[in-house]
């Protein structure tokens, strides 16, 4: 069992810089999801580890040994690709057996192929060519090929991208157990934050080639390291407002659309800079009664969904916010005038210059 370590890995393609000082450690048996918007450098990172291209700077270690410059077949890596990358001229069985490498004897391969394909529920299609398989079966075959050799490191490049929605749910439930089976260090790339949260032990958020935050799904949601991270997680996405917080009678407050809202106690250092105020849609409370700390707003539209109702609001200064309410909670109709409140604990404050989160004194400092 070996740990995967990236040490300030950097890579440039001309002016583009898909990896910039990326440092990350993945323990054996751990699943780290690399999450980020498209073009953030996720795939490049994976391909550097796999040896399809080399980093310009930094080190990649597997079990303490550098693999930079080593041939891909000597790195002890298994990989599943977004486009499956099955060998079209071989049967599913031969595709899976090829994962055992050049050394495996044919007699040894057969029972192992049977075992892994039973686990992935594809034993009935082993004799088929890839073109005869459904996308789900293709991806399971590709996963079996990556898993069969018990690699030290498993890389999964958005493996559920081309799989239909129902199957994606199934695989999200199955994958964590499957991936932990060989106690490999698993790096899993996805663009879907729900998938990231379902599968990950830890999530590494990659934005423009830099790791913005590496933490558990819970930590990333509750205490995002930066405004960029906060925006990436959550559906509907986080509400933001430009504020300049001030201290008054021992509390930290800010003016939002004409209302004075409390953000916490002012015993910490006062963030003396323009900030972003962030509030998750599900933390907003709607009421019809005015008060000093309630933000006046209009409902622009109501989108009923099964598990929640989403309201589009326009604050009196023109900012548009979203709220997510339980479907049975009383909410108004379009054009109603309402008032919006949120608890000080729900407020997130980000420095507008750097985008980094500023710790508020009613909660502990950011991880």
């Amino acid at each position: 069992m070996a740990r995967l370590e990236l040490k300030s890995v950097g890579k440039s393609f001309g002016a583009a810089r898909p990896a910039d000082g990326v440092s990350l450690t993945v323990e054996p048996g751990e699943i780290v999801v690399v999450f980020g918007p498209s073009g953030s450098g996720k795939t490049v990172l994976l391909r550097m580890i796999a040896g399809m291209f080399e980093p310009d700077e930094g080190e990649i270690l597997v079990g303490g040994r550098s693999i930079v410059g080593a041939a891909p077949e000597r790195r002890g890596i298994g990989m599943a690709f977004q486009n499956f990358a099955l060998f079209p001229h071989m049967t599913a069985r031969d595709n899976i057996a090829s994962g055992l490498g050049a050394r495996a004897a044919a007699s040894d391969a057969a029972p192992r192929v049977e075992a892994i394909s039973r686990l992935l529920k594809i034993e009935h299609v082993l004799g088929h060519a890839p073109r005869e398989l459904s996308n789900g079966q293709k991806q399971r075959t590709a996963l079996a090929r990556a898993l069969i050799g018990y690699p030290d490191v498993l890389l999964l490049d958005d493996p559920l991208r081309n799989v239909d929605a129902k199957l994606r749910y199934e695989m999200r439930l199955e994958l964590p157990n499957l991936l932990r089976r060989g106690a490999a260090a698993v790096l899993y790339v996805t663009q879907d934050y729900r998938e990231a949260m379902a599968i990950a032990d830890r999530i590494a958020v990659l934005v423009d080639g830099r790791l913005e935050q590496v933490a558990s799904a819970e930590q990333i949601y509750v205490t995002p390291a930066s405004v960029a991270v906060a925006r990436l997680f959550g559906d509907p996405s986080i509400n933001l407002a430009e504020v300049t917080p001030f201290a008054e009678h021992g509390t930290l407050s800010a003016m939002v659309s004409g209302a004075k809202v409390r953000l916490g106690s002012a015993d910490g250092h006062l963030p003396d800079c323009p900030c972003w105020l962030g509030v998750r849609p599900e933390d907003l409370v709607i009421s019809v009664s005015a008060s000093e700390d309630a933000i006046p707003a209009h409902i622009l539209a109501v989108t009923p969904m099964h598990e929640k109702a989403v309201l589009l609001l326009r604050l009196s200064d023109g900012t548009e916010w979203l709220t997510a309410l339980p479907p049975d909670a009383p909410h108004g109709a379009a054009n109603d005038a309402v008032f919006v409140r949120f608890a000080p604990e729900a407020a997130l404050l980000f420095d507008r210059a750097t985008g980094l989160r500023i710790g508020l004194s009613h909660r502990r400092q950011a991880a």
Partner: protein, 285 residues
């Protein structure tokens, strides 16, 4: 299904028939000629009914050409054999050199890569006659004149660029991820090339090989200048049918039929693989 009007279908049928007759009639006529004597061929008006004779084929196979002026020795079978040896050797050599080169051009960026690839292609632009004078001078100095190897080498001008550019396109169309996947599974670069890249480009390699075989087979000028009688292919050897006592149309027709056979059979055989290649589209998700 798209609906085509009756008039459209009739027009298409007529057009297809016309094209087929236009292209196939000369070949059909040659086939008929090969079973006629010179006198039967030259009578006016030509007739489609005649007493078939195998004399032309006999003469070709025995190598005895009987003309009004007497018996002539011809080495048609030898020429046919030469054509076969020269073209096959040229294509095999071009495949051995061209397929790995095509792979390199498709997969790796290197200095002057495009320049080299284009230079190789430009060999096809140059008129062969322009190249021949310096080439034959060099060949005399090198002792390559009138050798099988010398002709096979010069045939690379025909076969190599063709194979290189056709096969390169096939390699470029293949997702490199497939080879990466094979290497990550623990296979060497060489294995990824021979077990994944080459089989997947198989139809392209077959098509390129077939085409370059036909081009080599049909070549005339290179062999005319660089080969003497015993190394000549059929294309050059056919000149022997223009004799002092006239042109032997019957034998020429029979010679054409015989010399078209190998390429025709090869094309029919390779067709299976060419079609198979079209159904191998299971690469994309």
């Amino acid at each position: 299904m798209e609906h085509v009007s009756l008039a459209g279908r009739i027009f298409r049928g007529v057009a297809l028939t016309l094209i087929l007759v236009f292209f196939m009639f000369p070949i059909f006529w040659i086939l008929l000629m090969s079973f006629q004597t010179n006198e039967q061929i030259l009578r006016i008006p030509p007739r489609i009914y005649f007493e078939p004779t195998l004399a032309n084929y006999e003469a070709l196979i025995s190598g005895q050409l009987r003309t009004a002026a007497g018996n002539l020795q011809i080495s048609f079978m030898r020429n046919l054999f030469n054509s076969f040896v020269l073209s096959s050797a040229a294509v095999v050599l071009a495949l051995l050199l061209g397929v790995p080169a095509a792979y390199a051009f498709a997969r790796y960026k290197f200095r002057l890569g495009e320049t080299i690839a284009f230079t190789l292609l430009s060999f096809r632009f140059a008129p062969p006659l322009l190249v021949l004078l310096p080439l034959s001078l060099y060949y005399q100095q090198l002792g390559l004149n009138d050798t099988y190897f010398g002709i096979v080498w010069v045939y690379q001008l025909i076969a190599l660029p063709l194979i290189l550019w056709i096969v390169r396109g096939y390699f470029e169309d293949m997702s490199p991820d497939i080879e990466h996947a094979y290497r990550l599974a623990g296979h060497s670069w060489r294995e990824a090339f021979t077990r994944i890249a080459v089989p997947l480009a198989g139809p392209g390699i077959a098509a390129a090989g077939l085409l370059s075989f036909i081009f080599c087979w049909n070549n005339f000028v290179f062999a005319l200048i660089l080969a003497s009688a015993d190394k000549q292919p059929v294309t050059v050897g056919a000149l022997a049918f223009v004799t002092a006592s006239g042109i032997q149309y019957g034998q020429i027709a029979a010679a054409i039929v015989l010399s078209v056979m190998p390429t025709l059979l090869l094309a029919l055989y390779a067709q299976r693989y060419l079609v198979e290649g079209l159904s191998l589209g299971a690469v994309k998700g």
